[in-house]
Amino acid sequence: MLKQIEGSRAVAEAVALCRPEVICAYPITPQTHIVEACGEFVKTGQLQNCEYVNVESEFAALSVAIGASAAGARTYTATASQGLLFMAEAVYNASGLGLPIVMTLGNRAIGAPINIWNDHSDAMSMRDAGWIMLFAETNQEALDLHIQAFRLAEQLSCPIMVCMDGFILTHAYERLEIPDQAAVDAFLPPFVPRQALDPADPYSIGAMVGPEAFTEVRYLAHDKQLQALEVIPEIHQSFKEQFGRESGGLFHTYQVEGAATVVVTMGSLAGTLKDAVDELAQEGPQVGVISLSCYRPFPRTELRHALEHARRVIVVEKAVAPGAGGVVSMDLRMALQGVDCYVKTVIAGLGGRPVTSPSLQSMLRRALKGELADLHFLDLNRGMVDRELARQRRGIATGPVAENLLKDAATHGAD
């Protein structure tokens, strides 16, 4: 059914169609609308046989989810940014225990300075937590990925984070196809847990494991991610057959065939990039675009295969690893070891800064001319940064950088 709907509410509809048994909710922008809608569905009876728990923190939210999932319930929660960090311990715990929880991450910057707008810093902070991490390019994909996520999570007994860009997707109204219940039921079988707390068959979950087996436990976690690389395309195919839509999979390619230059990105940025490369193609060579739907596991072999003819790969990513560069870039460089191409990192859209097509085109032009630095910050206000750095070099007690920059912006404008 086509519906003009906010991204968050669409995700909530999708979650409800998956018949979760326990939903834990704690408000944090920009995911709040999702859990609000879930709560409404439970209260109105649209979603039945579901316990909706208003918890006191994100740590509790995921902890409740852990308990519910370990007790054999299909479990969902959502968070963002600081919330993900506050539950960090539980994030690792959920994957360590192999609990197929599905959690939406409304991607948002991490403070300080506190910032409610979109980037991928939060997701990147948990990239090694053992979760499968899927990124939605559009709201339709966000909706679809949730339906796939429950099937994938339960098939592998592994938690899944479905990432969608805060505000850009979560708060955007679009016409979306909402599947009907029968179709979802046909696609997503009832949850049969691999392990469950059950008085009829008691065992202990969550043992302490020492050096004698810890490496093996971790290896198996890695192997589970590798299994996901096989399962995700199957589910992608199966979803396509059931719903007639391309959603998910390991990554989407756009004009990659024969392109010497390919831009790699994640999330909603892909749409703008596609526009940018199309416009650019009118004046020069076609630049390809790859958007990763599956960031963890990192589809290394598949990307290598997709990029084997590329000579120039530019990773545009919404997070920075200070002192190192781009996080996705590092993964990609690993993937492309031995391939005759170079990888450039472009940091863009931090803390909600708009990433515009003209900016991207300008950056790509420089890249095509071989003028792009290995690490480039898109639309960085160089003057503002240089003035602060100069102040710092003068040894003045400067106070918080963020405050100085704000003052600077007020004085000099955004030059």
């Binding site: 360590g96 225990l97 192999g98 007994s157 691999r194 392990q195 068959d201 008691p202 065992y203 202990s204 979950i205 969550g206 043992a207 494991v209 087996a213 093996e216 436990v217 198996l220």
Partner: protein, 549 residues
């Protein structure tokens, strides 16, 4: 690691109770051991009763089982519950918590219940075909006869007097020991097949043994000859002896004439008994004259107190020097020296009295054994026996008041039991060896937290006025509720009563409960030797012993 659940995560999810593979017993340096310690009551009982065991049955309301348990050691619980001075109670650990268990009252309840219900002792020993002669039907003789009968022997008692019972009739007044009780308990022994021949005085033991075809003989005629002191008196008829007075109470149609003012000379239980008897016979004054003070009186304090309550007067630190023509006694005041011995002071006073009763103890009439070869008589006039209670004459055993020992009914009954065991062994050509005694369960070995504070049930006492005028029994018995209550005050010192504490308090589940009556077992595979079971055992029935490491 899950053998049973193939789909669960490796290492993180584990099959239930797999820690049983981890034998934590290897941590142990000490192990708990269940022990049986000797309860102080049992240890103190001259009759060797297993008091704790019968209190155990009584506590559960199984009175017949309790009584049968007493009967293993003592054939006369109803008498014992009244006449015994209950050293068990003096030893009872419960006195450190509140007051001792009123053991004798429960025993008496059980004894009376047995008479009322007509219970008979159960024993299953086959007939030995051997014959034993017992001389004297007092406590020791009756006890020996009873035990020998239980052991399968044929027993005949020759009693010189007209009634059986000995000191149980002639030594203890009826107000303390009703005669129907004595009669009933003796009758029960007779009903077991013990033959009592009355008015049969033995003059020649060897001849009687031979004539009757007896294989052994137990001599227990007691000590009936009153000790005298030489008090110059113009009218000797006014001086009586205590044993004689008490005997006359039993045997004569008319009670002895003691007069209005009676002086009793002596400080033992017999002195008190006579004074109290005199009060009951109508004496307006009964005065006990004793050369030392009340603390030094051999008589039991509770009896002295009862006598005082009944109006008996105590005149201690006094000796009677002489009696004048008017029937007055000249009494010299004494003072205790540093060693506690009375020394004359030279101060005199006069006591008026119609009668003086001497209660200075008794001697054994050994005249008829002096001719038996090998029998030794000690300087104190009592017969010497070896550890087997046998005299110097092969097959002739002796016990009770005739041999060196405390002279009480209970000791006599104990002698009877021991002599029976020795005689039984002798008849089999063996020597009786008592089992080694267990370590004493003293108070320090108990953890008394687990017992409710429960004060002793005071036996309902008869109205004091009433008991001064009649020979009704002074102490009423316990009713069933009281007896049960009293039995349940027992701490079961030193012996497991299956309270489940050890089973409950083991942090390692290393105590196995074997089921009712079966007790417990330490599972040494898992016992870490922490000692909690021993520390929390209320009755001190677990001991920690070092492991050989």
């Amino acid at each position: 690691m899950s053998a049973l659940h193939p789909t669960v995560p490796f290492a993180i999810t584990l099959d239930s109770a797999t820690s049983l593979q981890n034998k934590t017993g290897s941590w142990r340096t000490e192990r708990p051991m269940y022990v049986d310690r000797l309860p102080p009551c049992n240890n103190a009982c001259p009759a060797g009763e297993n008091i704790q065991a019968w209190l155990g049955f009584a506590e559960e309301g199984d009175y017949e089982a309790a009584w049968q348990q007493i009967m293993v050691d003592n054939p006369m619980p109803a008498i014992m519950g009244r006449a015994c001075y209950h050293p068990c109670e003096g030893a009872c650990n419960r006195k450190f918590i509140d007051t001792e268990v009123n053991i004798h009252a429960v025993e008496r309840f059980l004894g009376d219940e047995a008479i009322k219900q007509g219970w008979t002792p159960k024993w299953e020993t086959p007939d030995s075909g051997q014959k034993v002669l017992v001389i004297g039907a007092g406590p020791a003789g009756l006890s020996a006869a009873y035990h020998l009968r239980r052991m399968g022997h044929h027993v005949t008692i020759y009693e010189a007097g007209p009634v059986p019972g000995g000191m149980m009739r002639f030594g203890i007044p009826a107000y303390r020991l009703p005669r129907d009780v004595v009669t009933a308990e003796i009758a029960r022994i007779e009903n077991m097949g013990v033959e009592i021949v009355l008015n049969r005085k033995v003059e020649d033991i060897q001849a009687d043994m031979k004539a009757g075809g007896f294989d052994a003989c137990f001599l227990a005629i007691g000590a009936h000859l009153a000790k005298r002191v030489d008090i110059p008196a113009p009218d000797a008829s006014k001086i009586l002896d205590a044993v004689g007075v008490l005997r006359e109470m039993e045997t004569s149609e008319n009670p002895p004439m003691l007069g209005r003012r009676v002086v009793v000379y002596g400080g033992g239980n017999t002195a008190v008994d006579v004074a109290r008897t005199a009060k009951r016979l109508g004496a307006s004054e009964a005065i006990i004259v004793y050369r030392r003070n009340r603390e030094k009186m051999p008589a039991h304090d509770f009896e002295v107190q009862e006598a005082l309550d009944e109006g008996v007067v105590l005149n201690w630190l006094s000796t009677i020097k002489e009696m004048d023509d008017e029937g007055s006694f000249k009494v010299e005041k004494m003072a205790l020296d540093e060693e506690g011995y009375p020394q004359p002071t030279g101060e005199y006073e006069t006591i008026e009295a119609d009668t003086l009763v001497l209660a200075l103890g008794q001697n054994v009439d050994t005249s008829f054994v002096q001719t038996v070869p090998g029998v030794e008589i000690g300087s104190d006039g009592v017969i010497q026996v070896d550890r087997q209670m046998m005299t110097g004459f092969e097959g002739l055993f002796a016990g009770g008041d005739m041999v060196p020992a405390e002279r009480t009914v209970t000791v006599g009954i104990g002698h009877g039991k021991k002599a029976a065991r020795c005689i039984d062994a002798y008849l089999r050509g063996e020597t009786y060896e008592p089992l080694p005694k267990h370590e004493l369960a003293d108070f320090a070995k108990l953890n008394t937290w687990y017992y409710t504070d429960a004060p002793v049930t005071v036996q309902p006492t008869l109205d004091e006025v009433r008991r001064m005028t009649t020979f009704d029994e002074v102490h009423a018995g316990l009713d069933e509720t009281n007896a049960l209550y009293e039995a349940r005050r027992c701490l079961s010192c030193g012996n497991c009563f299956e309270c489940d504490n050890c089973y409950g308090v083991c942090p390692d589940n290393a105590v196995l409960k074997l089921g009712p009556g079966q007790g417990f077992k330490i599972d040494l595979d898992y016992c870490k030797g922490c000692g909690l079971c021993a520390a929390e055992c209320p009755c001190g029935a677990i001991k920690m012993v070092p492991e050989d490491i």
